[in-house]
Every structure is written in C-alpha cells, then in structure tokens.
Amino acid sequence: MKRMIMMILMAVVVMAGAVHAAPKKDGKPDGGSLSYGEYGRPATLDPITSNEMISLRITELIFNGLVGINEKQELVPELAEKWEASKDGRTFTFFLRKDVTWHPLEGEAPKPFTADDVVFTYKIMMHPKTITPLKVRYEFIDTVEKVDDHTVRFTLKRPVLNALAKFSFKIIPKHGPANPFLTRDDRFVQRPIGTGPYMFKAVTPEREIILAANDNYFKGRPHLSQIAEKPFADQNIMTQALMFNAIDMIVLVNPRDIPEIQGDKRFVLKTYNALSYSFFGYNVRNPLLADKRVRRAFTLAVNRQEMLDSFFSGQGTIISGPFAPGSWAYNLDVQPAAFDAPKAIALLQEAGFTRGADGFMQKDGKKLKLSLKVPIEKESEAVKRVVLAFKNYLKNIGADIKVEFKEWQAWKEDVFLEHDFDIIFASWVFDDSADISSLFHSGEIGPWKNNFGGYANPEVDGLINESKLTLDHEKRRTINRKLHALLAEENPYTFLWNLTNYAAYRDKVRRVAIHPYKFFSFADEWFMEAKDQK
C-alpha cells in the first residue's frame, strides 16, 4: 500500500515513567488477590502451542510482544521501545528495551531479555516440528536477524496490511524450551517463563493456576499481588461461586445467568469480544459429508432460532456465514438459510439418498450414520440440549447422529490431530482482523491445524490468497464479502449464532479495562483498595 511505502520512520519513545523494578506511579495501592473462573482448563500455558481462549488469556498475563495495543486501540511499544519501517514496507527494525528481565527461576538471578530471544521465538515458531497455528500467520516473514543485543530486523516477503500489529506475538526466552522446537511434551508449556506482569507460580491439586506479581515488571509492578485461574466444569456452579464469594470474576458469563448478575449491585457486568460464533463443523474426509448438498441439507434441517430461543433465552444472533455479526467482514446481504426440513430431504434425495425401512436415509447400501463429538467440559445443560436437538432435527430428515462426549484434551486430539470425527460442535473466537484463512484454506489441513474438517475449495483458496496479498482495505472487504457468500452456500460448517458475551466481576476490583480479545492486556493496572484486599 502506498501509505505503507511512504512510511519512512515510525519511532515511538518509551512510555514516560516506566522504571525498572519500580512500583507504578499512579497512586493506586498494591496488594490483594483476584480469583477468576474459566469454563474448562487450559491445555498449555505457552503462547506458541496454544489454540484456545483459556490459554490465550493466561499467556496475556505472563508474556509480552514487541508491540502492544492500548485501550484506545493504538499500537504502543512493549518489548521494543521504538521501531523503523523501510519505505517499501518490507523491513522492520525493532530497538529493544534494555531494562527487561525474564521471570527468574527459583534460586536463580533474572536473565536479561535480548535480541536472541526474539530471533529464537520466530525460529521455534516456524520450526517444522513445532505444532502451532501461528505458522500461517507469519508466513509473510522472510528473515529475522539480530543486529546487536538490543536490535532485531525482520524482512518481509511482501508488504502486508497492518504489518506492525502482527509483531504483537509473544516473545519466549531462549533458555525456556528444552529444544529448538516446541511440543506439548516440553516442560516449558506447563511451566512458562515470560517478561509479563505476572509470573507462573504453581498449579494446585484442584488444578487452580496461581500467578504472582512480577516485582521487576518493566512497566512497574502490577497492583494486584496474585491472580488465580480456577477451572469449572459447570457454568451454573461457576456463577454460584461468584455469587457466594468463592471467586471474584467470570471472564465469560453464561448468557442465562446475566439477568441474575445484572440485578445485583455487588457486581459489574462488562461487555467485550463480540467476534465469536458457534457452529457444527463437518469432516469432509467422510464421503457422505464431502457432498455439499448433504451439508446444506443439514443446515436447512436445523431450526437455529428455535434452539437459540429455547436454550439460550434468545440471547444471541443467528449468523449466515463465517464471520461474526460485529465484524467488518460480515456480508450483510447474505441472510441465514431458513429452517426448511422438506427442502433438506429433497436435497438428500437429489444427492442419491433413499429412505430405508428403519426410516433413515441410505446410499449405496450405506446408512447415513454419523458421529458428533462434543468436549465434555462443554457439557453444560445448554450445550447438551443443543446437540440433542441437532440429533433430533437430523433424525427428522433421516440422518442418524451418535453423540459422543469426550474429555477436552481427548476431544482436541480426535478433532485436530487424528481427525477422527464426522461432526463437531464448537465455537471460534476472532480478533478484530476476522482472519478465516486458517479455518478454510486447503493449506491449513494437517495435524493441529485449524482446518480440521479437511475442507478444500480452489475458489476459496484463491480468494483467501488474494485477500492476503492486497494492501487495499476496501478490496479486502469486497473479497471477504465474496468468501462469506461462498462459504454460506458451501456449508463446511452449519453456522449457528453469536452469543451475548459479558464478563462479570466484583465491584471491589477497580479500573477494570478489558481487551476485546485477549482480555487481560491491561490487568497490570487493575487494583483493589486496601480495605478490599483479601
């Protein structure tokens, strides 16, 4: 883009007042402990191998990127105190802070953060043996080089839109992982070392993760002395834990509990992150699901509005395609397909299915029988009802669905590693970029990659490629509208709904600003008055 090419120098001075190993100078008290509830457990605690939101939120407390984004949505310095971009937008040089140290290991002095750590992070991310969804996001980087201990230079294969924002990826220490690649077997993924406001301290027998304030944090010691993440297998119990003082915060409130919390002045409800949606995803490796008419029939067979109204009290919005309704990329001209069971049956018949004596559809002697895998930690009442309703809707058109609840980690292995499923029920959460390339591009089929269903369509690939290459915002928007329309027709998923998202917390926690995606980005400034500290 011309604007990018014209960019000669972007230099930002270090934020005033940031002093090594010093308290913040905002006059707010230090101390107190915050315990927050999550629905489920994090699989990993590192920013490279994680692919779910619970891990992302914790890593936001432990790690930093070269750049960050402030509450006004502006790019600000983090580990890099300033940077320069070349005229052609292909070279970015970052000048690193010299006052940053890694969280110390017990009995050891803190190690300094240097350019070696930045180079190491990029290399471990791109290592063929590292399993990470980040590879696709950083394919545009050609080389990275250490200029000196506190200067690092990235050369891009081509200029890209929002290039600087992409350098917000979290930096990990060279002395952290055991190997030049990172897998989930590495001790580092469960005992992370970062530069962030909070340090990993312990995991309790109840699987609670305890983080302690980093006294040496380069932006000043965070106010709260401890943050603890408490996992819950049941959303109702999590809400009760908040009501009865067992936790101070819920990052994502069960929509059904919002009225109860809203009526209680002890709590604050804060809306954030509108960019998520739920879906049934299909494994197109199964020949029965490879036919798009079958997938379309499933979408038409499901009364989404009835499910949303019955199981979530209508607290959400039915969607028509691969973007959330609050996204800039949503195609407003594409309407959600209306519930139409007779048309669904006609489509199955058109695809060669006939009703068998048992009432189920069959083709070439093979019954239309499929597995639906759901992670057990998502086995809330509402989710259970959704999947059972789905089973019944599909039974009405002659498809036999066997629902299997699986333990979270086992479910992820079945879905992302083994691809051993026919249908899944899950949700995606996006940052503002609304980037669906890792979900539907054929290059993203493979172990631990996000295109778990093996969906491949040259037209979709072409549009995604074109979208990545353009430097024109409006062109990218047009391409995304086409993608939306195409994927709404193709039904690699049955796109369901975007639910109402609120965080809830006790009013004793002050100055709470929430990042719309990463959640804890500003948590170092949260505080409690001395009288409210536990």
Partner: protein, 493 residues
Amino acid sequence: MTRFSLLIGIMMLVASPVPAADDPVQKAMKAYEKHRYEDAGRDLRAALPLLEQSKQSPAQLTLGMIYLRNAELHRELAQVSAAVNADYLRRLAAERGANRSRYSDLYLGLALIESGKAEAATSALEKFFAASEDAKYKVIAKIAMGTAASLAGDSQKAQELWSGINGSDPEVKTELAAAYSRAGLQDKDPVRLCDAALADGRKSGKAISIMAVKNCIGVYGRAGAPDKGFDLLSRADLKSYFYRDAIGKSKVLTFYDVQLLSNLSVFYFQASLAALEKASADQQLKGFASYYLGEAHILAGNTDQAAKATATFLASPQMPPQYKNRAMVRQGAIQHQKGKQSEAIGVWDDLIRKQPGEPELLADILIACSWLRIDCPRVAQTSAAAVESGDGKRFAILNVGLGRYALGKKDLGKAVTYLETGRDKGNKNKIESNDPLMLVNLSDAYYRTKKFSEALEIYFEMSKQFPQVRQIQEALQGIYSMEHKSAGDVKIN
C-alpha cells in the same frame, strides 16, 4: 415503565367489543411498547379504514405517538449516519491512484450537507463535478451544490445552479424536487415534480429507486402529504445502496445518501403532527394529544406551538403525575429556548426540590439539557448520587439520562458506563428490551471509543426492524476494516 401508564389511560378510552388481542389499536400499542415502530404504524394504518368511528381518534393518537418516536429515532440515526459516513468517505476521498472512486467525493459532499458543513460540502462536490464524466451524477452534484449554497444563505447562487437543469431523468427530477422543497420553494411545486417522476418510473416498469424514495419522502413530508409518503415507503427497499462502483475485478464500493434518514425523520415528524392534530379534535383525547403535540412541536423546532400545546396539556385534569413532570420539564426547555435561562433552571430546580431523587424526573431534565446542549452540573451531580444509592430497574432510566448527557458532553467513558448500566443486558441488542434511541447513543459512544464490533452488533439487530440503518452499518464496517490493529488470531472456545 411509567410511560405506558398513559397508554393504559388511552386504552380505557377505547371501549371495545373486540377481544384485546385482536384490537388493532391495542396491537399497535403493544408493538409500540416493543419499539417496533415500523410494524406498529404499518399494521394500524392498514386497519384504519375498517375501524369503527369511535376508534378513529384513539387510532390517530396512537399513530401520532408511533410516528413521533420513529421521527425522534430517525433524527438521531441521521445525525450518527452523517458523522460516521463523513468519517468513512473522507478516508475514501483521501485515497489516490487508480483504485480510487470519484464517487467518494460526491457522497462525502452529500454527507457534509447533512452535517451542516456547507462550505466543505461544496468543495467535495465541486471536486466531483470537475473530475467526473458521468453526466447524470454531475447534474446531481450540481443540484447538491445549490442546496449547499441555499444552506449557507446564498439563495441566489442556489437558484443559478438549479436553473436550466434538465429534469427529464426521473431521478434527477426528484433531486430537484427535494432541493426546492428543502429550500421552501413551494412555487416550484415539488410535490408535482415527485408525482410526475414516480409516475414516469412506474411506466418504465422498473423498481422504484432509493434515490427517488429518499427525495420524495422528504417532499411529501414537508408538504403534509403523509398518505403519498406511506404509499411510497410501502414499495421501497430502504436498505438499498445509492450507487455501486466496481473498480477492477475485486473492489466494489457501495455509496449511501445520508439524507434518506433525515428525510424520514422530517416525514415522520410531519405525519406525527398530522395524526395528533386529528386526535386532538376529539375532546376526550385533547389532553393526551396535546402532551404529544407539545413534544412533537418542540422537537420540530416550533417553540410557540410547543408552548401552547404543553399548556393545554397541563391544564387538563387527571393527567398522570409523571407526564405532568415531563411537560413541566419541557416548559423549562421552552423558556430556555426563548432566552429565559434562569426561569428554565428555576422550573427544574423547583421540580427537583418537590420530588428529590425521582429518577424519571432527573432523567427528563438531563435529556432536556443534552438536547439544549447546555451544562447542568448540579442536576448531573444529583443524578449521579441518586443512581449510586438507588437500585433496580427504576433507576435504569436515570442511568440512560446520565449516559445521554455525558455523550453530549463528549465524556465518552462515562457515557458508555451509564448507558451500559441502563441497558437490559440479558437482551442487550434487542429493541424489544432496550429503547432503540438509547442503543443508537450507546453505539455512537462505542464507535467514538473505537469499540467497533460493539457498535456494529447493535445495528445488526436493529436492521431487522429498521433496514435503513444499512448505511450506518456499511460505513462502520469500512472504518473498522481500516482502523483495526490485530494480528489475525483465532482460537477455539
């Protein structure tokens, strides 16, 4: 909500042998309570010819109320749309090179007219006029330049620009009609021009264009011809774009004229006044109708008529006290508009002294302050203390009042906090649970604090009842796509 106690009063006046659920007036009232103004108005209009005589006046009163709320909502939407579209179009107009659309200058000019920025509008329109080769749209730009001149007080220049324009194209004819109507040139007979243009369009068999709808709805509104306007609206698709510019294979820009929303607001205000005048002819309903007439007149800028209607209402016996409060707050606002600031403050202070901490009263005063664009620090302070100590839904309205006041003062953090507190979060974007006017204010506060997805979510739901918000959605999406700074992350949940 107490607002509806008055509706109950109206219902009591409607002696009906028909079961309540089937009564068209009551059905319309229910839709009105759920803020479904378009549905409510359409269904009751359709039922009007079949209603017995005794129900005609209550039906007119109900229609007047529906149109008034719809007018107020559209006025707010028009203001928001003008600001958001101008932001978006400025960015498009600032682009250079082959991928730039010239039409961004034209539509920027049109948006700036709606923002009252005649000089900047003229500059953008002249730029389009000089560079474009599209004869029809050059004429449209020329007409708009005349409107900008007229707004700037140069009616002679406006007349010069409009003279000699060939109005053979039906859409151009409606543009001229709208310009004449807006400038008050009744001798040019804008209604006849619109009638002729729409008849020409009908003859051609083409679907009615959004440009013609935008223009003629304003013309019919100003001319007091609601029936023609409603007929036009019944055939219109209000979410249609005005111009689509395809640049190369993969870039398509859609442009919208912000004036659609301001003309809808004008139209609904006039329709409201007409219906309320009919209702006030009924002695039984005169008091109720006067209350709303006073509100409609003050919102339409007719201070004297507002004062008269409000006085009539206050003289009526047995009116609900909260409506008396609201009417007296309005009287204060009228005094203020007439330059009697101390009298206005005196009226409000007196009301607060007699009913300390009354949330609806405080909210009404704050909203009046916000509307008058004046500082009311003592009322704001008292209100903030009241919501701090108060509890429950009763104080939701005061939180909304504080939020609107803060938004007017550009204190965006406070605006979001108060409006969110007043929002029914269980159904956060549903107009049935939240006043759409409040949602528009909240969306505006989110937009200005760059929480674009929150702003867009609100319009996504609202578009189901008010498809004309598409122009705001598209502009918001455009700005969001340019502004966001994210790495491209996605996670399973």
